[in-house]
Subunit: 207 residues, 2 copies
């Protein structure tokens, strides 16, 4: 199981410092939607140019104009880009094709879609399907239960990821469960007094 | 009926030139999602600072982290910000509240949501509800028919807008129909050899 760390709602200098600390320590570094909307792909491309040891995911949350956004995101250095499952099937098909052509990865964010919609978009063989509890949602979320239910419902989907309030205990539980390819952790690492140490602790429990 | 012109998938210099030409001529100028994701709110705020004669809409297509994105978007000078109807009801409620507190406007983009979802989010009295045909969609779209059907289905919704391949004939038809508050035009104006003249023609047929 891989560890993806999400950097969000911080300024560019803080993001750069966090990347310096975490690059090569965690498997995937996510530069969140807030960084893209605050600074834009062109500025992020300059700020984060160079050799990466971790994979780089830009959480662009594409929902339309898919080819344009995916071309821009990959040009900006992304190894993995995100698209909302709530997009039209046409958008999803187009960004999946761009991703395959460029030999990169695509993450389909399942936030706020129902099982009926997922039925229509479960055929993207190499895509990562991300269970995602909205940050704004007032309801609770059990990551391991959600993952087990999802796998039982969509047994043909091979690559699953999960995000939403993941702490060390939940990460350990998900690692033991052995279903998901990756787990996404945000504040539990980046808001820690020592993000590097916090990341190392997560890496220990999931391996 | 108001005319909203969408500027999208161009570089910053082209966007500035278009704004200079169209500000005060059309009712609302939209800086599209592509400009936000390419350049970011902070850079756009600087590029488009100053007195505006038209209203400024940033098409941020918020779908999560609503309060953060809406605060940033209004701080960047927006009069109107967009949120996806596909967001959680919690996100929609939070961004609606921020908008009311700041005495601004909110545009709820109805792309790819079904009537069942709209039933749950039709109570935001001052919001603009935007019928929106995905740019990536391969299916066709009749704007006037869609608007009539929408009004019949959701008679309590007061503010409606429509986007998706709108030409002069369709704009005229929508103006005669008298249902929508605004119509959104993109390429038919900004890709014209003379965007100012094209905008003026649209303003003539809709008044």
């Amino acid at each position: 199981m891989k560890l993806q760390v999400a950097i969000d709602r911080v300024d560019l200098e803080t993001a750069k410092r966090l990347v310096q600390q975490l690059d090569g320590v965690v498997d995937i570094i996510e530069l969140g939607t807030s960084l893209i909307k605050d600074y834009g792909f062109l500025q992020l491309k300059k700020a984060f140019a160079g050799t990466w040891h971790s994979e780089l995911l830009y959480d662009g949350k594409t929902i339309d104009e898919g080819v344009y956004e995916f071309e821009k995101g990959f040009d900006a250095g992304a190894d993995i880009l995100t698209v909302m499952a709530a997009s039209s099937v046409d958008t999803l098909t187009k960004v999946y094709d761009v991703t395959q052509q460029r030999n990169k990865q695509i993450f389909i964010d399942l936030m706020e879609v129902n099982e009926e919609k997922i039925q229509t978009i479960q055929h993207f063989e190499h895509a990562i399907y991300g269970l995602h509890h909205s940050k704004d949602s007032e309801s609770t979320f059990d990551a391991a239960d959600s993952v087990a239910h999802f796998q039982a419902t969509f047994p043909t989907i091979k690559h699953i990821s999960v995000a939403g309030g993941i702490d060390l205990t939940t990460a350990q539980k998900l690692a033991d469960q052995g279903i998901v390819d990756s787990v996404i952790v945000g504040s539990k690492i980046v808001k820690d007094e020592n993000p590097l140490q916090a990341a190392q602790k997560f890496m220990e429990v999931i391996r």
